[in-house]
Symmetry: C2
Subunit: 380 residues, 2 copies
């Protein structure tokens, strides 16, 4: 009987999306006489809703909304057949709606997430929100205001929520927003563990890539500190060690959703659950997973770590392939990985490596399958 | 019981010698709980005598002789306990005796190989000569003359043999040289298949690295063509397709030894036999081999190919590791290799790769051993 091999990679950034990577692995498995099962994964950030629905099917609803700068935009709400609805923040207030280079974290707002979230909450018993990949840094104030929360400045004027508004927030009444989501189980998938503020917080870590210059980073971090106690996700003082991990995800959307009563899970863990990855392992002989760079963040809870954990629990051999392995990649052995290998055929430049990733994955998957198959009985 | 893993690499040029590479592989095997057997190999060129004696022991005799430019030099003759003697041309008329940059293929002579060869023939029933790595391009005329062969120019004057002499050779009487080696089985290990002359011949392929400028290459190729029919190793005409393969090894020493009645084998095959590599495979669970660059020449008969062939015959899984894999590396699968993998942890520059080769071999050997061990019963 042919060996059943689960091909469950994350994307290889700059090179292959997860589905392409899974197909490349599967080609190698097939060439070695194995029976591949393609199961692309994600870490809870951009592309996660699509990843889940590729595995689980369901329906997708287009929802009239606005982008991060308030312009009309169609967001999406996914529905699975078990009554779970899925919203991806990046599909609402992410970069996809914006022009190349359009970045303004002071003006950007998460308000556009409200419509798909309410559409999801309408008839679902559980709503999953994938964070990550947004153009916003408003601490989720745009979303909260759009859901009806009363956010006031020091003179009692309502704020609609944006990066710039943070400096003026004086009080927040969340009750109207909570009322609209009443009875819904909110589950939030964070792709990072950053708190709302501080040296590892949203503004300092993600502000620059969202267009914040050093001055803006200071202003935004101050604003997020001000917001934290109002949302009940941290004191707003110190280095953020007492603030909720993941509160800083998606420019602080994490904190706003926590304030609305959401439970938060690492994105990769939620993807593992939602795609029913563990069920695939029951009959599996081997699992191949891959990502572009296997490093310390991998071990800290990205997709590959979730796969390694699942395989260790199911006692299925798991081989991790990386475009690049750093020294930290070796830590995955302690988690139970069978082997950690690079797909690189030798020293060369990064551009070539990115271009050749597909055939390299195939060649390495082929080699691995032959090794796993060719073991002699009684040799271990 | 721990898995018994034969670690049988060639050198990784510019980085590790074969013994260092074997030790690096063994460290990975040990870390994975396996039982390594270090068995460094060679391709029949430089270092081959030492490689054989590391595996087989025996004695080494220092022999008074001369270097490629006629200066006093101690060459070596090895003796194994089964009566086989070993001479390595590179230890007699190679680069080790010369100053940095000292290259003169017109003047260099292989005469210095005569003394260690005669010392070997003295009491051995079989003499193995490893070619490769010499500073000479004299078609072996220096050796032949030193052994007593009568090499005459057009006016009946004796020539002592050198690159420059080739243009004047008119006749050769090999009988005195044959007489001195009478009763000895001569076995020659070539590390290349080049014929004595022609586009793939000694002068064109190896002349430049031995110091020949384009004009010298022409003169030397003409001289070697002239020599071929006198030695009975080719017509001297055409592209060398009718000349003996390997005749061009070691600046034509191959042809001279063939003319003395030697049998020629690929160096890697002879090393496989002399080091008794196949005996190691009887109880082996796995063989790891490695070289710097796995390419078309690997498949054409270098060390790794000999290892793959031996493992295929013995039905022992064989995993080939390379610093770099070219597309041709995949051909080793057709020869029966279980897997062909690079040890590179990702895209990077060659200098780093050469520097890190040891730890990369160890890490990859570790991963491979875990994969070979962790297979589930019944999964193949």
């Amino acid at each position: 009987m042919a060996v059943r091999v689960i091909c469950a990679p994350d994307k290889l950034r700059g090179s292959l999306d997860a589905a392409e990577a899974a197909a490349a692995l599967a080609a190698g498995v097939r060439a070695a006489g194995g029976r591949p099962v393609e199961h692309p994964l994600a870490d809870g950030g951009e592309g996660s809703r699509g990843t889940v629905q590729e595995a689980r099917g369901g329906t997708v609803l287009d929802v009239e909304s606005v982008d991060a700068f308030g312009r009309p935009w169609r967001a999406k709400t996914g529905r699975l057949d078990d009554g779970t609805a899925i919203v991806e923040a990046a599909e609402a207030v992410g970069w996809g709606a914006l022009a190349e280079g359009e970045r303004d974290p002071m003006r950007a707002s998460s308000a556009g997430l409200a419509a798909p979230l309410l559409a999801a909450a309408g008839d679902a018993r559980r709503v999953v929100v994938f964070l990550g990949g947004t153009a916003t840094m408003d601490g989720g104030t745009g979303l909260l205001a759009a859901l009806g929360a009363e956010i006031l400045d020091g003179e009692g004027r309502r704020l609609s929520g944006s990066g710039a508004d943070l400096a003026r927030v004086h009080s927040i009444d969340l009750a109207p927003a909570r009322e609209r989501l009443k009875g819904v189980e909110l589950l939030v998938a964070a792709d990072v563990v950053s708190p709302l503020y501080g040296p590892n917080g949203a503004a300092r870590v993600f502000g620059p890539q969202k267009g914040a210059d050093p001055d803006m980073v200071e202003v935004l971090d101050d604003g997020l500190r001000r917001l934290a106690p109002l949302l009940g996700v941290g004191s707003g003082r110190g280095d953020g060690a007492d603030a909720a991990p993941g509160g800083g995800a998606a420019g602080g959307l994490g904190a706003a959703l926590l304030a609305l009563g959401a439970r938060m899970k690492p994105g990769a863990v939620l993807i593992r659950e939602l795609t029913r990855f563990d069920e695939l392992l029951v009959d599996a002989d081997l699992c191949l997973t891959a990502e572009g760079k296997v490093d310390a963040s991998t071990d800290a809870g990205k997709t590959i770590r979730a796969v390694v954990d699942a395989c260790a629990e199911a006692q299925v051999p798991c081989v991790v392939l990386g475009g690049t392995l750093t020294a930290d990649a070796q830590r995955l052995y302690e988690r139970g990985a069978t082997a950690v290998l690079s797909v690189s055929p030798g020293p060369r430049d990064l551009d070539t490596a990115l271009r050749e990733a597909g055939s390299d994955l195939t060649a390495t998957a082929y080699a691995v399958c032959r090794m796993m198959r060719r073991n002699r009985p009684g040799s271990g």
